[in-house]
Amino acid sequence: MSSSVPTTIPDFRLTPTIDQVGVEERAARFRTRSIKKEAKVAGLKLALSMIDLTTLEGQDTENKVRQLCYKARHLHDAYDGLPTVAAVCVYPSLVRVAKQALGDSGIRVASVATAFPSGQAPMPVKLDDTRFAVAEGADEVDMVISRGRFHQGEYNYVYDEIAAVKAACGEARLKVILETGELGTLDSVRRASEIAMHAGADFIKTSTGKIKPAATMPVTLVMLEAIRDFYFQTGKMVGMKPAGGISAAKPALHYLVMLKETLGNAWMNNHWFRFGASRLANDVLMQLVKQQTGRYQSSDYFSKD
């Protein structure tokens, strides 16, 4: 591409193909970095500040969400100087409850929308879903793309849908869930990432957490490289959110290493990078307390949510 800013929508059939073996080997390298002592503590605190504490169950009640919000504000009061998580992520019908519970804590409320998690609903329903979440007070909207349409090759439909939801979001930041577990190949992940970014996504996100495999390091690496290329092409930064399947502190540090070595320091904060997780926070807390006390910790001594 000769000009630095594309004036037209690119032909998404021409997105680059991905060398799967190369990506997997590169991703495996990030797991060999040794991070100890002060660097580890700093990394763990950074990871903690990037978590979107999530509850997305059919059985969620208002009090369950209030409890989660309390956890978001008070991760582990026995440990001084902890950051809070970045956001609490709930269904649209519970946004108002979360907003109220979080008050002036500075923790944002994210809401899934557009017929999460399947995305199998007519366009007007999806837009209404989005507008409702924003009207209830959501600061961020996590939408799902239509994977079926994507597999049928209707890239323009997927693009238009994301653009329409972005318009419906107004001020709220839009995270686009690609559901990479249903996309099949890394080529498709790359293509879907580009569609989402060109259509106006503020974040691209791997998974709903309802499908296995969810976030993996190779998939996240492909998306981070798509973000990097998009930035070089357009000068616009896009955030990244791996979600689902990251439940331990050590893999979280590996993701941060990958982020730093792929996108650099500008992305190393919770404005541009998030972990979608419900169990990760406790493991990070246990590791932090281990660093402080020298004793391996037990989940018996940490609040569940």
């Binding site: 020298g294 004793r295 391996y296 910790q297 037990s298 989940s299 018996d300 001594y301």
Partner: protein, 294 residues
């Protein structure tokens, strides 16, 4: 042309798999004549951490199995161990035992497993109680497994001592992280191979080899270990263990003075060392329409 013997590498046993120690270190215990017994993993505190994680994950499944099924599995261990008698005898001899004593020790080990296999579905009804109380309540005290039990196996009695400390904890539904004898570790890893092929789910027993001087503080301090069974001697070690264990109120059982080679060294009360007593109150009430009031 003479054949070059293939020497076995003894690897540790964590979560149903045989990894090498993450530290990459090894040590070579020696027999009385100074010959090396083999290359053994010198486990680190991170191996201990991994073993505890594997054990904790295995606890719900193992403790909720029907007691009768746990008995079947303990009996299965005995069967498979009996079938590998020759190998255990050879290892005990290599570690300094006589052939006669070694054969007796293996037989005793099998018998001891069978003994505790029988207790699996009996100790609760024998030791639990219905307590008399002053109000209209049934009041029960029943035994429940504590969780993750760390066992520092006896140093000298490397097979029957190990089995005698391990089997009661397993019979009671606990999961185990076991540190094998430092100077005589061969049988412990071969026993791990027996466990892996005896229907014992991965993670229920985890076996580490290495130096107790290095690992003991972490056995004592780990917050996710619920009880420690210490099968060795040493006043200093015992004091350090008890101090460390106080942090999360681990129960420490000291069994270093027992002679496990005696035929009568088995003891159902050893099962209770890793049990907690749960007492429940159940109101006695008249159920509508029924006359009995049970």
């Amino acid at each position: 042309m003479s054949r070059i013997p293939v020497l076995k590498t003894y690897k540790i046993y964590i979560g149903g798999k045989f990894p090498r120690t993450e530290s990459g270190r090894f040590y070579q215990p020696e027999d009385a004549k100074g010959n090396s017994l083999g290359n053994l993993c010198r486990s680190s505190r991170k191996d201990l951490r991994n073993a505890v994680v594997a054990a904790r994950a295995a606890f719900p499944g193992w403790s909720s199995r029907p007691a009768f099924n746990r008995g079947q599995i303990l009996y299965r261990i005995a069967e498979v161990l009996e079938g590998r008698t020759d190998q255990f005898v050879a290892e005990l001899v290599a570690q300094g035992s006589t052939a006669k004593a070694a054969t007796k020790e293996v037989e005793l080990s099998v018998d001891r497993l069978v003994y505790y296999a029988g207790w699996c579905d009996k100790y609760q009804q024998v030791f639990s109680a219905v307590n008399p109380v002053a109000s209209n309540h049934f009041n029960f005290s029943i035994y429940e497994p504590m969780g993750v039990v760390a066992i520092v196996a006896p140093e000298e009695s490397s097979l029957v001592g190990l089995i005698s400390t391990l089997a009661p904890a397993l019979a009671g539904g606990n999961v185990v992280v076991l540190l094998a004898s430092q100077s005589k570790p061969l049988c412990s890893i071969t026993l791990a191979e027996v466990l892996q092929t005896s229907d014992v789910p991965g993670g229920v027993v985890n076996v580490l080899t290495g130096f107790d001087s290095e690992l003991l503080p972490h056995f004592a301090g780990h917050m996710d270990i619920n009880a420690v069974i210490y099968g060795r001697q040493g006043a200093d070690q015992i004091e350090a263990l008890q101090r460390g264990a106080a942090e999360n109120v681990k129960r420490v059982s000291l069994l270093g003075d027992r002679n496990w080679l005696e035929a009568e060294a088995h003891d159902p009360y050893l099962i209770l060392n890793t049990q907690e007593v749960k007492t429940t109150w159940h109101p006695i009430e008249k159920v509508g329409g029924s006359a009995s009031g049970y």
